[in-house]
Every structure is written in structure tokens, then in C-alpha cells.
Symmetry: C2
Subunit: 452 residues, 2 copies
């Protein structure tokens, strides 16, 4: 295959080879493709050619390609393959990918899918499914190389060589004792530079950074990004080595967790992407919107409580959207700072106090500046010092309160081990809306005689 071929040229060449029944040519092209590209090609060719495409692929190629497809397409491919071939593919698939495939299916479908599989593989996948979703146990793979601590470097290298096909990343070997307990780690670099007859236990690092099976995947991502590892071992409570998590899965998790934070912060609904159907997207977005609708009604009923004030000074309505909007926004700003800060920092009480005081100061500074600014604008616009003072002092107070609410609420949720990002739109917006309207109309009502 020519190096210079574009993606479209490859698609055409593949279709050509399928049409003319040239399996050798097809294989020549496929051999140079990465799994992601194979999957893209499979999705790009017209569906009438897909059966033949799969027929011409080796089981290994189908397995690699599978891992780059989404669940629906994976099931589609398995169905096209028939029971015998699909069982082979399932046997070859990495157990964490298999676990994530069957996580979306119901019991009957799982039964059907796994019925013909190698029992050992089925047991491994089922044991993986026992861990909570989004924990280390759920995303770990069992394809890694471990060595007993009494091995020499030479023996370790031989074992590595033997299992090279199986291990995803070869940067580290994990060292275990007789009870399969994790006792150390050697890097491939150590093996290269060490003496062939040195014992592994003499060159290994014993202070291994590791994750427990129940550790949250976000914590695992934090460890990997801190330590710049390409894999991290996973242990059970008794320090028994049971799996490894690799950096490629971690990148997907970091992206997924960031998306979840954004979904929650923007109250945009769970897991909507470019391929989500409009009914599904609307269904996922509606709960937040309906909640916000009722919050809006609540704000409305607060305003209606001040109907007399508003009736007397209609100009008060002009500043309502500004005050509510500003308070909501400063709360969201603080919330975003806290939520994203927690992605890379752990917090102790001292830092929490420091952070709250920092935000209090931020609130005061922006409160003073924006309050003074709006005082002059309102004064000039409506030619009323009192109105300026009412609007300015309200904004000053609501900005401080909004900032603190956006800081303290996610911190409390974090302490209660609730994901702080759920504080998002609804909670912060409700509190800030209600408080800002109460403060604004409260102050205005106090000065009502001078506003008239």
C-alpha cells in the first residue's frame, strides 16, 4: 500500500478489493492500518460490503477493530459474525472492554453472548462486573506481566519475551511473592541496565504506587497523571495483585470525567453527543429545564410578593435581570473554580478555610467595583440617587453572597462525598436567584417612600 494514500483512497481501494474478491490485496491494506482506522473504514464503506469486509478480516483484526466501535456497532458486528466466530472474538477481547460491552445489555442478552465462551474468560469478566462501575476493579485488565520476586533479571526478560504479545505496555513488570501479593515493580529500563544474574528483588522498587479495586476511577486518573506512569497495578484488600490499569484507558476517563463535569455544570443532560437522537436528547435535557422552570416560578412568586413596590416603582424591574444574572454568574464562576480545582488537588481543612476566605475577598472586591459602577449608571440613567443606592448596595451584597454560595456549597458536598458538580445550575441558581431577589426588593421596599 502506498504511504501517501488518503483515507478516502484507502476506502476506495478496500471496496475495490472486496468487489473483485481479492483477499490478499485487502489484507495488504488492512495490515498497515491501526485499529481506529480499521473501524473508521468499516463504518465508511457501504453497508452491503460489510459482511464481506468481516469475512476477509482475521479474528485478530476484528477484535482490534471491535474495541474502537460503540456498543451498538459492536453488537451488530457480533451478530454478523455468527456464533462461532463471535465467540472467538469475545475470547480475544480485553476483559475490561468486554465488561463495558455487556454492562449495557440485559441479563438474557449477556447469557446468549457468553454462552459459548471459554469458561475461564467468562469467570474473569463476571468477577469484573462485581465491582462498582467507575472503580479501578471495573476498568482494569488482566493482560499484564507479573514475575515472582526470586526471578533473576534474565528469567524476567525471558518471561517478558514470552508474553510480549499479551502485554499492552512493556514499561514495567510487577513483582509478586508466593501469595501473589504485590511486593515491587521493575521498569524495563532497570532490566536493560541491570546484570542478567541479579535477582529481581534486589533491583525492584518496593514503594509501589497502586490502586485498590474499589478506588474511584477519577482517583486512579489523578495518580497516573501525578506520577506520569503508563500503567498502575490494582490490588485487593490483602495486597493481592489482580490487574493493571493502562494509560490509554485513563485518557478516555479524563475526557469522560471532564465531560461529566461540564454536563453537570451546564445542566446539559447526561451523555448527549452528536449521534444522540433528538427525542433522547430532549428527554435528557428536559428534567433540568423543568426544574429551572419551577425555580423561575418561585422567583416569580417572590416578585409577586413585592407587587406593590414594583407597581409603585416600575423602574425596579429594569435592574432585575442584571442583579439575578450577575449573582448567578459569580456563583457559577466560584463553582467552576472549586469543581475543577478538586480534579487535581486534595483538600485539608486548612486549605478549605483559606479558599473560603479567598473567595470572600474576591466577592468583596468584585462587589465593591460592580456596586459602585451600577450606582453611577442607575443614578445617571434614572436621575435618582436613591435608586442608585438601592441597586448598588443590592448588587454589592448579592455578589458577596453569590460568590460564597458558589464556593461553600460544592465544598460541603465534597466533604459529604457527593460529587460537587451536581450543585450546578439548579442548586446554586435557586439559592442565588431567591436571595438576590429578596435582597433587592427588600432594600427597595425599605426605601420605597424615597423612591417614589
Amino acid at each position: 500500500m502506498s504511504l501517501a494514500m488518503t483515507e478516502n483512497e484507502i476506502t476506495l481501494a478496500l471496496i475495490q478489493s472486496l468487489k473483485e474478491g481479492k483477499k490478499m490485496l485487502f489484507q495488504d491494506i488492512m495490515e498497515e492500518l491501526q485499529p481506529y482506522d480499521m473501524a473508521q473504514q468499516y463504518l465508511h464503506i457501504p453497508s452491503k460490503h460489510r459482511n464481506k469486509f468481516l469475512l476477509y478480516c482475521t479474528i485478530e483484526q476484528i477484535t482490534e477493530m471491535m474495541q474502537e466501535l460503540d456498543t451498538d456497532e459492536q453488537l451488530n458486528v457480533l451478530q454478523k459474525l455468527g456464533i462461532e466466530k463471535s465467540t472467538k472474538v469475545l475470547d480475544l477481547m480485553e476483559n475490561d472492554d468486554l465488561a463495558s460491552l455487556i454492562a449495557d445489555l440485559d441479563a438474557e442478552e449477556i447469557e446468549e453472548l457468553l454462552s459459548e465462551m471459554n469458561q475461564e474468560e467468562v469467570d474473569i469478566v463476571q468477577s469484573l462486573m462485581n465491582y462498582e462501575p467507575e472503580t479501578a476493579g471495573r476498568i482494569m485488565t488482566n493482560r499484564y506481566v507479573w514475575i515472582p520476586k526470586h526471578y533473576t533479571i534474565r528469567e524476567a526478560v525471558d518471561k517478558l519475551k514470552h508474553f510480549a504479545e499479551l502485554a499492552e505496555y512493556l514499561n514495567y513488570l510487577y513483582v509478586i511473592d508466593e501469595q501473589k501479593k504485590l511486593v515491587g515493580v521493575v521498569s524495563y529500563k532497570d532490566l536493560l541496565l541491570g546484570d542478567l544474574y541479579d535477582k529481581v528483588e534486589d533491583v525492584m522498587y518496593t514503594r509501589v504506587v497502586k490502586a485498590d479495586v474499589h478506588t474511584d476511577q477519577e482517583e486512579v486518573a489523578k495518580l497516573i497523571s501525578r506520577y506520569d506512569f503508563v500503567s498502575i497495578p490494582v490490588i485487593e484488600a490483602d495486597n493481592k495483585l489482580v490487574g493493571v490499569i493502562t494509560v490509554d484507558d485513563i485518557i478516555d476517563i479524563v475526557i469522560q470525567e471532564a465531560n461529566e463535569d461540564i454536563e453537570k455544570l451546564s445542566a446539559s443532560g447526561k451523555a448527549i453527543d452528536f449521534n444522540t437522537k433528538s427525542m433522547v436528547a430532549a428527554y435528557r435535557r428536559l428534567p433540568w429545564l423543568i426544574l429551572l422552570l419551577f425555580i423561575g416560578i418561585l422567583s416569580g412568586s417572590i416578585i409577586s410578593g413585592f407587587e406593590d413596590t414594583l407597581q409603585t416603582v416600575v423602574a425596579l424591574a429594569f435592574f432585575m435581570p442584571m442583579i439575578a444574572g450577575m449573582t448567578g454568574n459569580t456563583g457559577t464562576q466560584s463553582l467552576a473554580v472549586v469543581v475543577r480545582g478538586l480534579v487535581s488537588h486534595d483538600l485539608n481543612s486548612k486549605q478549605v478555610v483559606k479558599l473560603v476566605f479567598r473567595e470572600l475577598w474576591v466577592g468583596i472586591i468584585i462587589g465593591v467595583i460592580c456596586g459602585v459602577l451600577i450606582f453611577f449608571i442607575a443614578y445617571v440613567w434614572r436621575d435618582s440617587v436613591t435608586l442608585g443606592l438601592v441597586v448598588g448596595s443590592s448588587l454589592f451584597l448579592t455578589l458577596i453572597i453569590g460568590t460564597l454560595a458558589g464556593t461553600i456549597i460544592p465544598l460541603i458536598l465534597y466533604r459529604l462525598k457527593i460529587d460537587p458538580a451536581v450543585a450546578s445550575g439548579p442548586l446554586i441558581t435557586t439559592i442565588n436567584d431567591i436571595l438576590s431577589l429578596l435582597i433587592y426588593f427588600g432594600i427597595a421596599t425599605m426605601f420605597i417612600s424615597r423612591l417614589m
Copy 2:
């Protein structure tokens, strides 16, 4: 050092060894620590011990530790080290880390810092600084192993062994021809499984996934996460291999880009974290807030344009926050879906059209449901069918328009090669605020005689 020691116990043991002048004991502990942990220990010990801490560390340990500190601390360490030792550390530092350190300094400080450094290293770092920030050229490292294509596998393994200390990740070797042009890649797996006397060019992959020096770092992250690589080669226009980007940097970039998206979407100001001073944080947050303040004034002046309508039917004010809030929120929802979708998808015109129609449908569905709901609420609350119809039909229209604005504006920015996330608060909020108030009061004014 005992394996079971906690972080605090290690801190105490280190302080003890520093106080008693036991360098050997200090080194025993340090040798088992990862760079991140060394940095944490350095930051945890009281500052009066830090000079001695640095004195007891090897140059290599200081270099490793440096890379885990932030810029201020790095400069602090360099100052404590004195010119001779700090030059050694700078020589040893990876050039991408060095480039990111000096990116924050002014010309004079850079001059002073680099004055004593190895000229070759200085040249490399300065050439790195010529690339735009956030491009592949800026984040690549020159610590990687390349081999000429005429090498045998045995020669490749020997070279790998020789440079093992230098190469960060050993999973792939990049293969070049006589002009240093990138012609292929071999994995360490291929080397292990191949015959020692095979030529590298016979076993290498020729279809190498690579990044150009000018490629945006976000694109590089996309490539690495798609292909599950631990490193990716970087070339100049003539296909000359000039560097490598490793997965550990990519994880940091994915986190950084997600934070930037959240900063922009929540208009929360650039780069505020837990350690930012309150004056700085307030300064960074203020531009957005002041912009929003003027947007609020703009909304206010639109409302004041309908002063007569509002004076006649004060109840219209009750629904104002709800309509503006809902329209803003549906816009933000769509914006978040588009911005995060673009992180993992590329879009062609066909998909853009599909996405816009999807969102149009979503807007219609949520518009109908929320519109009907608010019709009944307004009707029951204020006992007026007309008010119900005015509020309901306004919400129906503004939800459709808000959804489309949140979709189309970021797509246009994306097509114009402007980061769609900047559409964030300001742009979408302004447009949605103004449109929603105009529609709401426009419809209300049309029915004003029946509303009285």
C-alpha cells in the same frame, strides 16, 4: 525505609535526618520516592530545612523534583541552588519542561538563567520557543530513540540499551532514513519477537501516525487518545523527525483543555486555582462580570422600552426571570454539547446539517412541553387565559431560538477556526436575553388590551 510508612512519617524521618546531618539515611528514603512525592516532601518540610534538603539531594533528584513544582517554586529552587548547581539542573531538565518554565519569564530573567548553560541545550530550547504556544512543537521532547532504517534488530536493541536512561518511554523506536526523514516505527514488541538479524525496515510499520510541529496540542491529544499510543513522533514540513510527544504530557493537556473549556463556558476567568491570590482572581473574573453587567443594562433598557406595557400589567414582570433563565439555559446546554462533542469528533458539512436539525427538533420538543406547562401554571395562578397564552407562546419561541443560537454560533466559530467555547456566557447570553425579552414583551404588547 519501611514500606508501610505514611507520607507524614516520611516527612518526619526526612526532617530528623536533616537535623542530625545523616545524609545516607536521607538518601535511603529519597531513593524510594517518586518525583511527585519528593516535590510534596520538599513543600511539606519547614522552609528553614529546605536549603539542606537541596544540599543532600543529587542533581538528578533535584531535576526530577523540579518538574513537579510550579514555576514560582522552580525559580525559588534554582535561586537556592546557586549558579553552578542550577545550571547543571537546567542542562538535565527536559527541554519541553524548560521551555514551559521560561515561557513565563521576561527576557532579562531568561538571559540570566540560561547564561551558563550548555550552548547546545540553549539552542534546542530556544528553537522550541519559536513555535506557537499550545502546538506540538512547543510540547515535544528531544529525549527519544531513533534508528536508521538499515539497522538490524540486534543493532536497534543495542542502541536502545545504550540510550535506555534517556528515553522516557520505550514502547516504540522511530525509524529514519539518511535525510533524518521519518520512514517508519517499530514497537519494542516487534524487536522482542523478531529475528535478531532481520532488517528494521523489513519489520517496521510504514504508515506512521504523526504530528506536525504546528499541530494544535488538542489535535495531538485527539490522535493519542484515538490510537492508544504512549508517544507520537513530531515532524517538520519536510517530514524530518524533530521530536516526540509522550502520553504523560497529553494527560496534562487533556485536563488543561477541559479546564479551559469550563473556564470559558462558565465565564469564570483564566487559570484560577486554589492558590491564586484573591486580588488576581478578582481581576481575572471581573472582565466577564462587567461585560455581563452591561448586558444586564442592555436588557434593562429593552424592558424600559416596554415601560407602558409593564406599568399596565405588572404581572408580566413575574415571568421575566423564568423566560430569560430558561432561554439562557437551553442555549448553554446546546453550547456544552457542541463544544465537548468537538473534543472527540471532527465534523463535515453533512454532520453539521444533521446536528442543526437535531437541535431544531430538540428545541421544538422542549418548547412544546415547557410552553404548555407554563401556560397552565400562568393560567391557574393569575386566572387569565390571555396571560397564559402570552407566556406560553413566548417560552415556546424563545426555547427554539435559544437552542438554535447555542448550536449555530459555536459551529460558525468552529468553522472560522475560533475556539467555539469563547461563545460562552457573553455572546449566547446577550443574544438569548435580548431576543427573549423582545419576543416576550412584543407578544405581550400585541395583546395588551386583552391583558388589562
